[in-house]
Symmetry: C2
Subunit: 274 residues, 2 copies
Amino acid sequence: MLNGDTPLPLDDRGVTYGDGLFETVLVRDGQPYLWDYHMVRLLAGCQRLGIPAPARDELDPLPGRAGPGLHVFKLILTRGSGGRGYLPPASPESRLRWQYLPFAANEQRWREGVRVRHCALRLSIQPMLAGLKHLNRLENVLARREWSDPQTAEGLLCDHEGHLVEATCMNIFWRRRGVLETPRLERCGVAGTLRQALLEQLPMFEVDVGPGHLDEMEALWLGNSIQGIWPVTRLDNDEGKPLVEWKLTDVHREFQNVAQRLLGYPELPKVEKP
Amino acid sequence: MLNGDTPLPLDDRGVTYGDGLFETVLVRDGQPYLWDYHMVRLLAGCQRLGIPAPARDELDPLPGRAGPGLHVFKLILTRGSGGRGYLPPASPESRLRWQYLPFAANEQRWREGVRVRHCALRLSIQPMLAGLKHLNRLENVLARREWSDPQTAEGLLCDHEGHLVEATCMNIFWRRRGVLETPRLERCGVAGTLRQALLEQLPMFEVDVGPGHLDEMEALWLGNSIQGIWPVTRLDNDEGKPLVEWKLTDVHREFQNVAQRLLGYPELPKVEKP
Protein backbone atom coordinates (compact mmCIF):
# COMPACT_ATOMS: atom_id res chain seq x y z
CA MET A 1 0.00 0.00 0.00
CA LEU A 2 1.00 3.56 -0.72
CA ASN A 3 2.55 5.44 2.19
CA GLY A 4 0.56 8.49 3.21
CA ASP A 5 3.57 10.74 2.83
CA THR A 6 4.59 9.75 -0.72
CA PRO A 7 5.67 12.97 -2.52
CA LEU A 8 3.38 14.52 -5.11
CA PRO A 9 4.31 14.42 -8.80
CA LEU A 10 4.79 17.79 -10.49
CA ASP A 11 1.69 17.33 -12.62
CA ASP A 12 -0.55 16.85 -9.60
CA ARG A 13 -3.16 19.61 -9.70
CA GLY A 14 -2.65 20.19 -5.99
CA VAL A 15 0.90 21.28 -6.82
CA THR A 16 0.17 23.20 -10.00
CA TYR A 17 -3.05 25.00 -8.98
CA GLY A 18 -3.67 24.29 -5.28
CA ASP A 19 -6.56 22.25 -6.67
CA GLY A 20 -7.39 20.35 -3.51
CA LEU A 21 -8.40 20.38 0.15
CA PHE A 22 -6.84 19.60 3.50
CA GLU A 23 -7.81 18.82 7.07
CA THR A 24 -5.81 18.91 10.30
CA VAL A 25 -7.28 16.68 12.99
CA LEU A 26 -6.36 16.39 16.66
CA VAL A 27 -5.65 12.75 17.52
CA ARG A 28 -5.04 11.45 21.06
CA ASP A 29 -3.77 7.88 21.38
CA GLY A 30 -5.17 7.08 17.97
CA GLN A 31 -8.57 8.67 18.74
CA PRO A 32 -9.53 11.59 16.47
CA TYR A 33 -11.54 14.54 17.82
CA LEU A 34 -14.35 16.20 15.84
CA TRP A 35 -13.73 13.57 13.16
CA ASP A 36 -17.25 13.69 11.76
CA TYR A 37 -17.04 17.48 11.46
CA HIS A 38 -13.77 17.17 9.54
CA MET A 39 -15.27 14.58 7.24
CA VAL A 40 -18.40 16.67 6.61
CA ARG A 41 -16.27 19.70 5.68
CA LEU A 42 -13.97 17.61 3.46
CA LEU A 43 -16.88 16.05 1.60
CA ALA A 44 -18.62 19.43 1.25
CA GLY A 45 -15.38 20.75 -0.26
CA CYS A 46 -15.21 17.81 -2.68
CA GLN A 47 -18.75 18.48 -3.76
CA ARG A 48 -18.20 22.22 -4.24
CA LEU A 49 -14.97 21.72 -6.23
CA GLY A 50 -16.10 18.60 -8.09
CA ILE A 51 -13.35 16.41 -6.66
CA PRO A 52 -14.26 12.73 -6.16
CA ALA A 53 -14.46 12.09 -2.43
CA PRO A 54 -12.62 9.11 -0.93
CA ALA A 55 -14.88 6.57 0.79
CA ARG A 56 -15.32 6.94 4.56
CA ASP A 57 -14.12 3.30 4.77
CA GLU A 58 -10.80 4.46 3.39
CA LEU A 59 -10.51 7.52 5.64
CA ASP A 60 -11.86 6.28 8.98
CA PRO A 61 -8.97 3.91 9.84
CA LEU A 62 -6.24 6.49 9.18
CA PRO A 63 -6.23 8.53 12.43
CA GLY A 64 -6.02 5.30 14.45
CA ARG A 65 -2.55 4.63 13.05
CA ALA A 66 -1.09 7.73 14.74
CA GLY A 67 0.12 5.68 17.73
CA PRO A 68 0.22 6.77 21.38
CA GLY A 69 0.31 10.42 22.46
CA LEU A 70 -1.04 13.62 20.94
CA HIS A 71 -0.74 14.14 17.16
CA VAL A 72 -2.03 16.30 14.39
CA PHE A 73 -3.27 14.06 11.60
CA LYS A 74 -2.90 16.09 8.42
CA LEU A 75 -4.75 14.94 5.34
CA ILE A 76 -4.33 16.40 1.84
CA LEU A 77 -6.72 15.50 -0.96
CA THR A 78 -5.97 16.76 -4.48
CA ARG A 79 -7.83 16.42 -7.77
CA GLY A 80 -4.89 14.29 -8.97
CA SER A 81 -3.13 14.57 -12.32
CA GLY A 82 -4.42 15.31 -15.76
CA GLY A 83 -6.74 17.63 -17.60
CA ARG A 84 -5.88 20.27 -20.19
CA GLY A 85 -4.52 23.25 -18.34
CA TYR A 86 -7.09 24.52 -15.87
CA LEU A 87 -9.77 22.18 -17.26
CA PRO A 88 -9.94 19.16 -14.94
CA PRO A 89 -10.15 15.68 -16.48
CA ALA A 90 -13.71 14.47 -17.04
CA SER A 91 -13.15 11.67 -14.51
CA PRO A 92 -10.43 12.85 -12.13
CA GLU A 93 -8.69 10.32 -9.89
CA SER A 94 -8.20 12.22 -6.68
CA ARG A 95 -4.99 11.69 -4.71
CA LEU A 96 -4.87 11.28 -0.93
CA ARG A 97 -1.85 11.96 1.25
CA TRP A 98 -1.45 12.16 5.03
CA GLN A 99 1.02 12.72 7.83
CA TYR A 100 1.13 12.33 11.62
CA LEU A 101 2.80 15.25 13.37
CA PRO A 102 3.52 15.13 17.13
CA PHE A 103 1.73 17.94 18.95
CA ALA A 104 1.62 19.65 22.35
CA ALA A 105 -1.03 22.26 23.20
CA ASN A 106 0.07 25.71 24.39
CA GLU A 107 -1.27 25.59 27.95
CA GLN A 108 0.10 29.01 28.81
CA ARG A 109 -2.10 30.57 26.12
CA TRP A 110 -5.15 28.77 27.51
CA ARG A 111 -4.39 30.07 31.01
CA GLU A 112 -3.10 33.59 30.42
CA GLY A 113 -4.68 34.48 27.09
CA VAL A 114 -2.94 36.01 24.09
CA ARG A 115 -2.06 39.27 22.41
CA VAL A 116 -3.32 39.64 18.84
CA ARG A 117 -3.08 42.35 16.19
CA HIS A 118 -4.96 43.53 13.17
CA CYS A 119 -3.50 42.49 9.83
CA ALA A 120 -3.20 45.10 7.07
CA LEU A 121 -4.08 42.53 4.39
CA ARG A 122 -7.77 42.38 3.50
CA LEU A 123 -9.23 38.98 2.59
CA SER A 124 -10.67 38.79 -0.91
CA ILE A 125 -14.34 37.93 -1.31
CA GLN A 126 -15.05 34.67 -3.12
CA PRO A 127 -18.32 32.92 -2.17
CA MET A 128 -17.39 29.94 -4.40
CA LEU A 129 -14.50 29.10 -2.05
CA ALA A 130 -15.73 30.56 1.25
CA GLY A 131 -15.73 28.19 4.21
CA LEU A 132 -13.60 25.52 2.52
CA LYS A 133 -10.19 24.43 3.77
CA HIS A 134 -8.71 24.43 0.28
CA LEU A 135 -5.06 24.54 -0.72
CA ASN A 136 -5.05 28.17 -1.97
CA ARG A 137 -3.71 29.79 1.18
CA LEU A 138 -1.41 32.57 -0.01
CA GLU A 139 -3.53 35.21 1.72
CA ASN A 140 -3.03 33.46 5.06
CA VAL A 141 0.72 33.20 4.39
CA LEU A 142 1.00 36.89 3.50
CA ALA A 143 -1.07 37.92 6.53
CA ARG A 144 1.06 35.77 8.84
CA ARG A 145 4.20 37.40 7.45
CA GLU A 146 3.06 40.79 8.74
CA TRP A 147 4.58 40.22 12.19
CA SER A 148 7.32 38.12 13.70
CA ASP A 149 7.46 39.05 17.41
CA PRO A 150 6.59 35.91 19.39
CA GLN A 151 4.49 37.96 21.88
CA THR A 152 1.81 38.31 19.21
CA ALA A 153 -0.07 35.03 18.88
CA GLU A 154 -2.39 35.76 15.98
CA GLY A 155 -3.58 38.36 13.48
CA LEU A 156 -7.19 39.37 12.85
CA LEU A 157 -8.37 39.58 9.26
CA CYS A 158 -11.11 41.68 7.71
CA ASP A 159 -12.46 41.27 4.20
CA HIS A 160 -12.27 43.94 1.49
CA GLU A 161 -15.56 45.41 2.66
CA GLY A 162 -14.36 45.78 6.24
CA HIS A 163 -16.07 42.87 7.98
CA LEU A 164 -14.19 40.85 10.58
CA VAL A 165 -13.70 37.30 9.26
CA GLU A 166 -11.15 35.21 11.13
CA ALA A 167 -7.56 35.08 12.36
CA THR A 168 -4.79 33.68 10.13
CA CYS A 169 -5.35 30.08 11.30
CA MET A 170 -8.18 30.38 13.84
CA ASN A 171 -11.79 31.43 14.00
CA ILE A 172 -12.95 34.41 16.08
CA PHE A 173 -15.62 34.42 18.79
CA TRP A 174 -16.81 37.16 21.13
CA ARG A 175 -19.46 38.07 23.68
CA ARG A 176 -21.31 41.32 23.15
CA ARG A 177 -24.20 42.47 25.36
CA GLY A 178 -24.19 39.02 26.89
CA VAL A 179 -24.56 37.22 23.53
CA LEU A 180 -22.01 34.91 21.88
CA GLU A 181 -21.23 35.79 18.25
CA THR A 182 -18.87 34.75 15.46
CA PRO A 183 -18.40 36.18 11.96
CA ARG A 184 -20.48 34.85 9.09
CA LEU A 185 -18.24 33.02 6.60
CA GLU A 186 -20.28 33.00 3.42
CA ARG A 187 -17.95 35.20 1.39
CA CYS A 188 -14.49 34.25 2.70
CA GLY A 189 -12.72 32.52 5.56
CA VAL A 190 -12.41 28.92 6.70
CA ALA A 191 -15.38 27.41 8.56
CA GLY A 192 -13.51 25.68 11.40
CA THR A 193 -14.74 22.37 12.78
CA LEU A 194 -14.48 23.56 16.40
CA ARG A 195 -16.53 26.65 15.41
CA GLN A 196 -19.16 24.38 13.87
CA ALA A 197 -19.32 22.17 16.97
CA LEU A 198 -19.61 25.26 19.21
CA LEU A 199 -22.40 26.69 17.04
CA GLU A 200 -24.30 23.45 17.59
CA GLN A 201 -23.64 23.25 21.34
CA LEU A 202 -24.16 26.87 22.38
CA PRO A 203 -26.53 29.72 21.66
CA MET A 204 -24.12 31.56 19.33
CA PHE A 205 -24.99 33.74 16.33
CA GLU A 206 -23.24 34.34 13.01
CA VAL A 207 -23.04 38.08 12.29
CA ASP A 208 -21.41 40.74 10.09
CA VAL A 209 -19.37 43.13 12.23
CA GLY A 210 -16.64 45.65 11.47
CA PRO A 211 -13.43 45.85 13.50
CA GLY A 212 -14.55 49.16 15.05
CA HIS A 213 -16.94 47.19 17.25
CA LEU A 214 -14.21 45.20 18.98
CA ASP A 215 -14.01 47.58 21.94
CA GLU A 216 -17.69 46.83 22.66
CA MET A 217 -16.92 43.17 23.15
CA GLU A 218 -17.00 41.90 26.74
CA ALA A 219 -14.77 38.99 25.78
CA LEU A 220 -12.90 37.94 22.64
CA TRP A 221 -11.51 34.49 21.84
CA LEU A 222 -9.68 32.70 19.05
CA GLY A 223 -9.94 29.00 18.48
CA ASN A 224 -9.46 26.00 16.28
CA SER A 225 -9.81 22.23 16.51
CA ILE A 226 -6.12 21.70 17.34
CA GLN A 227 -5.32 24.42 19.87
CA GLY A 228 -8.70 24.80 21.53
CA ILE A 229 -9.70 28.33 22.61
CA TRP A 230 -7.37 31.21 23.48
CA PRO A 231 -8.84 34.22 25.30
CA VAL A 232 -7.62 37.53 23.84
CA THR A 233 -6.27 39.92 26.49
CA ARG A 234 -4.85 42.58 24.21
CA LEU A 235 -5.53 43.76 20.67
CA ASP A 236 -2.99 45.86 18.74
CA ASN A 237 -3.41 47.73 15.48
CA ASP A 238 -1.57 46.61 12.34
CA GLU A 239 1.56 48.43 13.50
CA GLY A 240 1.62 46.74 16.91
CA LYS A 241 0.22 49.73 18.90
CA PRO A 242 -2.27 48.71 21.64
CA LEU A 243 -5.98 49.31 20.95
CA VAL A 244 -8.03 47.32 23.47
CA GLU A 245 -7.30 45.25 26.58
CA TRP A 246 -9.49 42.67 28.28
CA LYS A 247 -9.22 41.18 31.77
CA LEU A 248 -9.55 37.41 32.01
CA THR A 249 -12.80 36.41 33.70
CA ASP A 250 -14.80 33.28 34.32
CA VAL A 251 -16.81 34.20 31.22
CA HIS A 252 -13.66 33.36 29.29
CA ARG A 253 -13.19 30.08 31.14
CA GLU A 254 -16.77 28.95 30.64
CA PHE A 255 -16.50 29.24 26.86
CA GLN A 256 -13.02 27.72 26.80
CA ASN A 257 -14.14 24.73 28.80
CA VAL A 258 -16.81 23.80 26.25
CA ALA A 259 -13.98 23.52 23.72
CA GLN A 260 -11.70 21.72 26.21
CA ARG A 261 -14.35 19.02 26.58
CA LEU A 262 -14.89 18.75 22.81
CA LEU A 263 -11.16 18.19 22.31
CA GLY A 264 -10.45 16.00 25.35
CA TYR A 265 -8.32 18.70 27.01
CA PRO A 266 -8.42 19.21 30.82
CA GLU A 267 -10.98 21.57 32.36
CA LEU A 268 -9.50 25.01 33.11
CA PRO A 269 -9.92 26.24 36.69
CA LYS A 270 -11.71 29.50 37.58
CA VAL A 271 -9.72 32.68 37.16
CA GLU A 272 -7.70 33.48 40.28
CA LYS A 273 -8.66 36.75 41.92
CA PRO A 274 -5.64 39.04 42.43
CA MET B 1 22.19 17.12 -10.01
CA LEU B 2 18.53 17.09 -9.09
CA ASN B 3 16.15 16.31 -11.93
CA GLY B 4 13.74 19.12 -12.68
CA ASP B 5 10.75 16.84 -12.28
CA THR B 6 11.58 15.37 -8.86
CA PRO B 7 8.28 15.12 -6.92
CA LEU B 8 7.55 17.61 -4.13
CA PRO B 9 7.55 16.45 -0.50
CA LEU B 10 4.26 16.83 1.37
CA ASP B 11 5.67 19.54 3.61
CA ASP B 12 6.63 21.74 0.68
CA ARG B 13 4.74 25.00 1.06
CA GLY B 14 3.87 24.91 -2.63
CA VAL B 15 1.86 21.76 -1.89
CA THR B 16 0.37 22.81 1.44
CA TYR B 17 -0.50 26.46 0.67
CA GLY B 18 0.18 27.06 -3.02
CA ASP B 19 3.03 29.19 -1.64
CA GLY B 20 4.95 29.64 -4.87
CA LEU B 21 5.03 30.84 -8.46
CA PHE B 22 5.17 29.34 -11.94
CA GLU B 23 6.04 30.27 -15.50
CA THR B 24 5.24 28.58 -18.80
CA VAL B 25 7.67 29.53 -21.54
CA LEU B 26 7.51 28.81 -25.27
CA VAL B 27 10.76 27.17 -26.38
CA ARG B 28 11.66 26.44 -30.00
CA ASP B 29 14.71 24.24 -30.61
CA GLY B 30 16.02 25.16 -27.19
CA GLN B 31 15.44 28.89 -27.71
CA PRO B 32 13.02 30.49 -25.21
CA TYR B 33 10.71 33.33 -26.29
CA LEU B 34 9.99 36.37 -24.08
CA TRP B 35 12.45 34.87 -21.60
CA ASP B 36 13.40 38.19 -20.03
CA TYR B 37 9.73 39.02 -19.51
CA HIS B 38 9.18 35.68 -17.78
CA MET B 39 12.19 36.25 -15.56
CA VAL B 40 11.09 39.79 -14.67
CA ARG B 41 7.64 38.54 -13.65
CA LEU B 42 9.09 35.61 -11.69
CA LEU B 43 11.48 37.85 -9.78
CA ALA B 44 8.75 40.44 -9.15
CA GLY B 45 6.64 37.61 -7.70
CA CYS B 46 9.52 36.48 -5.49
CA GLN B 47 9.91 40.01 -4.21
CA ARG B 48 6.20 40.47 -3.51
CA LEU B 49 5.86 37.12 -1.71
CA GLY B 50 9.27 37.22 -0.01
CA ILE B 51 10.53 34.05 -1.69
CA PRO B 52 14.30 33.94 -2.38
CA ALA B 53 14.79 34.19 -6.13
CA PRO B 54 17.06 31.69 -7.88
CA ALA B 55 20.05 33.25 -9.64
CA ARG B 56 19.65 34.01 -13.34
CA ASP B 57 22.79 31.85 -13.84
CA GLU B 58 20.82 28.91 -12.56
CA LEU B 59 17.69 29.63 -14.63
CA ASP B 60 19.11 30.78 -17.97
CA PRO B 61 20.52 27.40 -19.12
CA LEU B 62 17.31 25.45 -18.43
CA PRO B 63 15.20 26.22 -21.54
CA GLY B 64 18.14 25.25 -23.76
CA ARG B 65 17.89 21.65 -22.59
CA ALA B 66 14.42 21.21 -24.13
CA GLY B 67 15.89 19.66 -27.30
CA PRO B 68 14.66 20.11 -30.89
CA GLY B 69 11.10 21.12 -31.74
CA LEU B 70 8.48 23.20 -29.95
CA HIS B 71 8.06 22.82 -26.17
CA VAL B 72 6.49 24.49 -23.21
CA PHE B 73 9.10 24.86 -20.51
CA LYS B 74 7.20 24.89 -17.24
CA LEU B 75 8.97 26.15 -14.15
CA ILE B 76 7.62 25.93 -10.58
CA LEU B 77 9.27 27.81 -7.73
CA THR B 78 8.01 27.21 -4.18
CA ARG B 79 9.01 28.72 -0.84
CA GLY B 80 10.29 25.22 0.08
CA SER B 81 9.67 23.40 3.36
CA GLY B 82 9.48 24.63 6.91
CA GLY B 83 7.99 27.40 8.98
CA ARG B 84 5.34 27.15 11.68
CA GLY B 85 2.01 26.79 9.96
CA TYR B 86 1.41 29.76 7.70
CA LEU B 87 4.48 31.60 9.06
CA PRO B 88 7.31 31.06 6.58
CA PRO B 89 10.77 30.19 7.90
CA ALA B 90 12.97 33.22 8.54
CA SER B 91 15.38 32.06 5.83
CA PRO B 92 13.37 29.95 3.40
CA GLU B 93 15.20 27.70 0.94
CA SER B 94 13.08 27.96 -2.18
CA ARG B 95 12.60 24.86 -4.32
CA LEU B 96 12.80 24.85 -8.12
CA ARG B 97 11.18 22.29 -10.39
CA TRP B 98 10.71 22.20 -14.16
CA GLN B 99 9.36 20.16 -17.05
CA TYR B 100 9.53 20.18 -20.85
CA LEU B 101 6.17 19.51 -22.49
CA PRO B 102 5.92 19.02 -26.29
CA PHE B 103 3.64 21.63 -27.83
CA ALA B 104 1.87 22.42 -31.11
CA ALA B 105 0.09 25.74 -31.67
CA ASN B 106 -3.57 25.71 -32.68
CA GLU B 107 -3.24 27.19 -36.20
CA GLN B 108 -6.95 26.90 -36.92
CA ARG B 109 -7.71 29.28 -34.04
CA TRP B 110 -5.17 31.79 -35.38
CA ARG B 111 -6.79 31.64 -38.83
CA GLU B 112 -10.49 31.35 -38.08
CA GLY B 113 -10.76 32.90 -34.64
CA VAL B 114 -12.58 31.46 -31.62
CA ARG B 115 -15.87 31.43 -29.80
CA VAL B 116 -15.72 32.52 -26.15
CA ARG B 117 -18.28 32.86 -23.36
CA HIS B 118 -18.73 34.80 -20.18
CA CYS B 119 -17.99 32.92 -16.98
CA ALA B 120 -20.44 33.18 -14.09
CA LEU B 121 -17.62 33.13 -11.54
CA ARG B 122 -16.39 36.57 -10.46
CA LEU B 123 -12.69 36.97 -9.71
CA SER B 124 -11.95 38.09 -6.17
CA ILE B 125 -10.06 41.34 -5.64
CA GLN B 126 -6.65 41.01 -4.00
CA PRO B 127 -4.11 43.69 -4.91
CA MET B 128 -1.40 41.86 -2.93
CA LEU B 129 -1.52 38.99 -5.44
CA ALA B 130 -2.73 40.77 -8.59
CA GLY B 131 -0.59 40.29 -11.68
CA LEU B 132 1.44 37.40 -10.27
CA LYS B 133 1.48 33.91 -11.75
CA HIS B 134 1.21 32.28 -8.33
CA LEU B 135 0.12 28.74 -7.48
CA ASN B 136 -3.31 29.68 -6.02
CA ARG B 137 -5.37 29.04 -9.12
CA LEU B 138 -8.63 27.52 -7.88
CA GLU B 139 -10.65 30.41 -9.33
CA ASN B 140 -9.25 29.64 -12.80
CA VAL B 141 -10.04 25.94 -12.34
CA LEU B 142 -13.61 26.65 -11.23
CA ALA B 143 -14.14 29.11 -14.09
CA ARG B 144 -12.79 26.60 -16.62
CA ARG B 145 -15.18 23.95 -15.29
CA GLU B 146 -18.15 26.09 -16.32
CA TRP B 147 -18.21 24.70 -19.86
CA SER B 148 -17.03 21.57 -21.63
CA ASP B 149 -18.14 21.93 -25.27
CA PRO B 150 -14.98 22.01 -27.41
CA GLN B 151 -16.45 24.75 -29.66
CA THR B 152 -15.91 27.25 -26.84
CA ALA B 153 -12.23 28.12 -26.62
CA GLU B 154 -12.13 30.35 -23.59
CA GLY B 155 -14.17 32.06 -20.87
CA LEU B 156 -14.11 35.76 -20.01
CA LEU B 157 -13.78 36.73 -16.35
CA CYS B 158 -14.96 39.85 -14.56
CA ASP B 159 -14.03 40.82 -11.01
CA HIS B 160 -16.54 41.21 -8.17
CA GLU B 161 -17.06 44.84 -9.08
CA GLY B 162 -17.92 44.00 -12.69
CA HIS B 163 -14.73 44.95 -14.53
CA LEU B 164 -13.42 42.75 -17.33
CA VAL B 165 -10.11 41.21 -16.25
CA GLU B 166 -8.91 38.28 -18.36
CA ALA B 167 -9.86 34.90 -19.76
CA THR B 168 -9.19 31.72 -17.77
CA CYS B 169 -5.66 31.31 -19.13
CA MET B 170 -5.24 34.27 -21.50
CA ASN B 171 -5.24 38.04 -21.43
CA ILE B 172 -7.87 40.11 -23.26
CA PHE B 173 -7.24 42.84 -25.83
CA TRP B 174 -9.64 44.91 -27.93
CA ARG B 175 -9.88 47.84 -30.30
CA ARG B 176 -12.46 50.50 -29.47
CA ARG B 177 -12.85 53.73 -31.46
CA GLY B 178 -9.61 52.84 -33.20
CA VAL B 179 -7.63 52.49 -29.95
CA LEU B 180 -6.06 49.31 -28.57
CA GLU B 181 -6.94 48.58 -24.94
CA THR B 182 -6.48 45.83 -22.34
CA PRO B 183 -7.83 45.55 -18.79
CA ARG B 184 -5.85 47.00 -15.90
CA LEU B 185 -4.60 44.20 -13.64
CA GLU B 186 -3.90 45.96 -10.37
CA ARG B 187 -6.57 44.21 -8.33
CA CYS B 188 -6.68 40.71 -9.86
CA GLY B 189 -5.64 38.70 -12.90
CA VAL B 190 -2.33 37.47 -14.27
CA ALA B 191 -0.14 39.99 -16.09
CA GLY B 192 0.88 37.92 -19.10
CA THR B 193 4.32 38.26 -20.62
CA LEU B 194 2.95 38.57 -24.16
CA ARG B 195 0.62 41.32 -22.89
CA GLN B 196 3.59 43.12 -21.38
CA ALA B 197 5.62 42.86 -24.58
CA LEU B 198 2.65 44.13 -26.62
CA LEU B 199 2.15 47.06 -24.23
CA GLU B 200 5.77 48.02 -24.90
CA GLN B 201 5.60 47.59 -28.68
CA LEU B 202 2.24 49.16 -29.46
CA PRO B 203 0.19 52.17 -28.46
CA MET B 204 -2.14 50.23 -26.14
CA PHE B 205 -3.84 51.47 -22.98
CA GLU B 206 -4.76 49.75 -19.71
CA VAL B 207 -8.37 50.56 -18.78
CA ASP B 208 -11.28 49.60 -16.50
CA VAL B 209 -14.24 48.45 -18.58
CA GLY B 210 -17.39 46.50 -17.78
CA PRO B 211 -18.57 43.60 -19.98
CA GLY B 212 -21.51 45.68 -21.25
CA HIS B 213 -19.05 47.57 -23.45
CA LEU B 214 -17.98 44.50 -25.43
CA ASP B 215 -20.45 45.18 -28.23
CA GLU B 216 -18.73 48.54 -28.82
CA MET B 217 -15.46 46.81 -29.57
CA GLU B 218 -14.37 46.77 -33.22
CA ALA B 219 -12.19 43.74 -32.55
CA LEU B 220 -11.57 41.45 -29.59
CA TRP B 221 -8.61 39.11 -29.06
CA LEU B 222 -7.28 36.68 -26.48
CA GLY B 223 -3.64 35.87 -26.13
CA ASN B 224 -0.79 34.43 -24.14
CA SER B 225 2.90 33.73 -24.59
CA ILE B 226 2.34 30.11 -25.62
CA GLN B 227 -0.62 30.24 -28.02
CA GLY B 228 -0.11 33.71 -29.48
CA ILE B 229 -3.25 35.70 -30.29
CA TRP B 230 -6.70 34.33 -31.10
CA PRO B 231 -9.26 36.70 -32.66
CA VAL B 232 -12.71 36.37 -31.07
CA THR B 233 -15.49 35.91 -33.62
CA ARG B 234 -18.35 35.14 -31.25
CA LEU B 235 -19.12 35.89 -27.61
CA ASP B 236 -21.76 33.93 -25.68
CA ASN B 237 -23.28 34.64 -22.29
CA ASP B 238 -22.61 32.36 -19.32
CA GLU B 239 -25.27 29.95 -20.53
CA GLY B 240 -23.85 29.63 -24.02
CA LYS B 241 -26.38 31.93 -25.75
CA PRO B 242 -24.83 34.20 -28.44
CA LEU B 243 -24.32 37.88 -27.51
CA VAL B 244 -21.95 39.45 -30.05
CA GLU B 245 -20.32 38.38 -33.33
CA TRP B 246 -17.30 39.86 -35.06
CA LYS B 247 -16.10 39.41 -38.67
CA LEU B 248 -12.42 38.69 -39.12
CA THR B 249 -10.62 41.64 -40.71
CA ASP B 250 -7.09 42.72 -41.41
CA VAL B 251 -7.27 44.72 -38.17
CA HIS B 252 -7.26 41.33 -36.44
CA ARG B 253 -4.35 40.09 -38.52
CA GLU B 254 -2.23 43.16 -37.92
CA PHE B 255 -2.40 42.75 -34.14
CA GLN B 256 -1.93 38.98 -34.36
CA ASN B 257 1.17 39.36 -36.47
CA VAL B 258 2.93 41.49 -33.86
CA ALA B 259 2.51 38.53 -31.50
CA GLN B 260 3.48 36.01 -34.19
CA ARG B 261 6.78 37.84 -34.62
CA LEU B 262 7.37 38.03 -30.85
CA LEU B 263 6.88 34.26 -30.55
CA GLY B 264 8.64 33.16 -33.74
CA TYR B 265 5.38 31.99 -35.34
CA PRO B 266 4.74 32.47 -39.10
CA GLU B 267 3.15 35.67 -40.38
CA LEU B 268 -0.60 35.26 -40.97
CA PRO B 269 -1.84 36.23 -44.46
CA LYS B 270 -4.47 38.91 -45.06
CA VAL B 271 -8.06 37.88 -44.52
CA GLU B 272 -9.53 36.33 -47.68
CA LYS B 273 -12.46 38.23 -49.14
CA PRO B 274 -15.51 35.97 -49.66
